[in-house]
Assembly symmetry: C2
Homo-oligomer: 277 residues x 2
């Protein structure tokens, strides 16, 4: 179809609406409804089960903040795993770190990878890099089968509905801990504090039981519900708020800075309260 307004209901009673120039691809994959569209405001966009996953215009925020916060926190992140993230945006940011020797991507839906390469080339363009291994498979199982393998694990999943529901369980966080090396770090997207306060509270509680250093940070993503996105970081050894100055090196970013690295952990009071309950 061409020339219409698409509305995503982000809650039962609130949503965003945006002008679509044309639909580029629509397909019910084995796992979810995949839609690619060319929009007037945000460039090409990927939707899964009707929810905005990424847009060419604002994708940099999410991808930079998932990747750079844990990667600068770890002193030598050589071996990195991305669970989900088939659009390739997190991988693109991971590769900006010269310490990374290998980045493995495990996405359950090969169609997301295929159509991101086709319609989101500025996001997915680094998936063919020599340092990257792309696997189409179940990230939950891959984690369960991995032991002492990764320095940093990033969970770039959809919401806890559909294929991602296992990725928001305490069993998954325990698996992540086992899959990480003894000084490993993981980060997971954790939805937003305005509409999903209970989710953030529960994830913080669960992760704290497994990781000695558990924190929440946020970033502004205009096409995501409420515009304020939360990320949970769990670390075995390194504190994301105690990164040595010399660890930071220049990378090309549009959102992340080393100053913002620290500031993103300073939470609005009502969000801070969620992490302390």
């Amino acid at each position: 179809m061409a020339g219409f307004w698409y509305t995503e209901k982000q809650t039962d009673n609130f949503g965003i609406t945006l002008k679509v120039n044309k639909t580029l691809h629509t397909e019910q994959t084995d796992f979810q409804l995949l839609e690619m569209a060319e929009t007037e405001e945000w460039g090409n966009m990927l939707f899964l089960d009707g929810m905005v996953m990424t847009s060419e215009r604002d994708e940099f925020v999410y991808h930079e903040m998932v990747a750079h916060v844990p990667l600068f926190t770890h002193p030598n992140p050589e071996n990195v795993l991305v669970v989900g993230g088939g659009d390739g945006g997190v991988i693109r940011e991971v590769l900006k770190h010269p310490q990374v020797k290998k980045a493995t991507l495990v996405d359950i839906d090969g169609k997301v990878i295929e159509y991101s390469k086709k319609y989101l080339p500025t996001i997915a363009g680094k998936l063919e890099d020599a340092r990257v291994e792309v696997m189409v498979g179940d990230g939950f199982l891959h984690i369960a089968e991995s032991e002492n393998a990764y320095d940093v694990i990033m969970v770039d999943s959809t919401e806890p509905v559909g294929p991602a529901v296992n990725l928001f369980t305490k069993g998954f966080y325990a698996g992540i801990s086992k899959a990480l090396k003894e000084d490993g770090i993981f980060v997971a997207q954790s939805d937003n504090p305005w509409f999903k306060a209970d989710l953030i509270r529960q994830v913080q509680k669960d992760v704290k039981e497994i990781f000695p250093i558990t924190k929440l940070y946020t970033a502004n993503i205009p096409t995501y519900p409420s515009g304020l996105w939360a990320f949970t970081i769990g670390s075995k050894k390194y504190d994301p708020l105690a990164v040595k100055e010399e660890r930071f090196h220049d990378i090309d970013t549009k959102y992340y800075t080393k100053e913002l690295h620290n500031a993103s952990f300073v939470l609005p009071k009502f969000v801070k309260d969620l992490t302390e309950e």
Copy 2:
């Protein structure tokens, strides 16, 4: 009317949509179209010329961040002026500071004050306080007629269309400087960096020519365009990033904290770039 979805086009090609239970009041005032509505997600809301001004659920962010950043920066803010802000939210926050002896509100549209008192009582409820003087009149003229009068001036205006267009000019900032005491501070809402980059760039440039200390800070407001709102602060003497620890005192807030005071000035790289051009 009752039981419909209202859509605010925040740009030509993007907007928010929300479920309205019922319209409470609709009136073309002498200055703008005033609408009050009861919404399912955000509680009662005020719209001016079709744009969201405030909602009961997320108003605390804007009002706390306008008021507390300059009021904690100034060591002794006794005399405070709010230009616009007829909903009373900024005044409510100003009154949390015991140093404030008098808070003057000048809004051009008495109907905003009248209907905010009626339908947004948790926001407007402090307009009758003994320390508050409410004036219905032109804020631009009030500023022009004031000299060496205020410690802190807060510009809580609509967008630079309609009645607020004069409030985004260099002449207005010069007037504010004159209306402030020799160590005065002002803050003005400055829209958002995603859709109004040029505005932010221009305001920063204009204010810098008049105020030796000019900075930008942001806050997350879900019902405002992009979810990331910007505020320009201009100060003659006191640096908002050099507030002495003992200056902070406990106040009841839901968004502002003294840590967030500082963190809100740490900008995403693309926003920081706007302030340095």
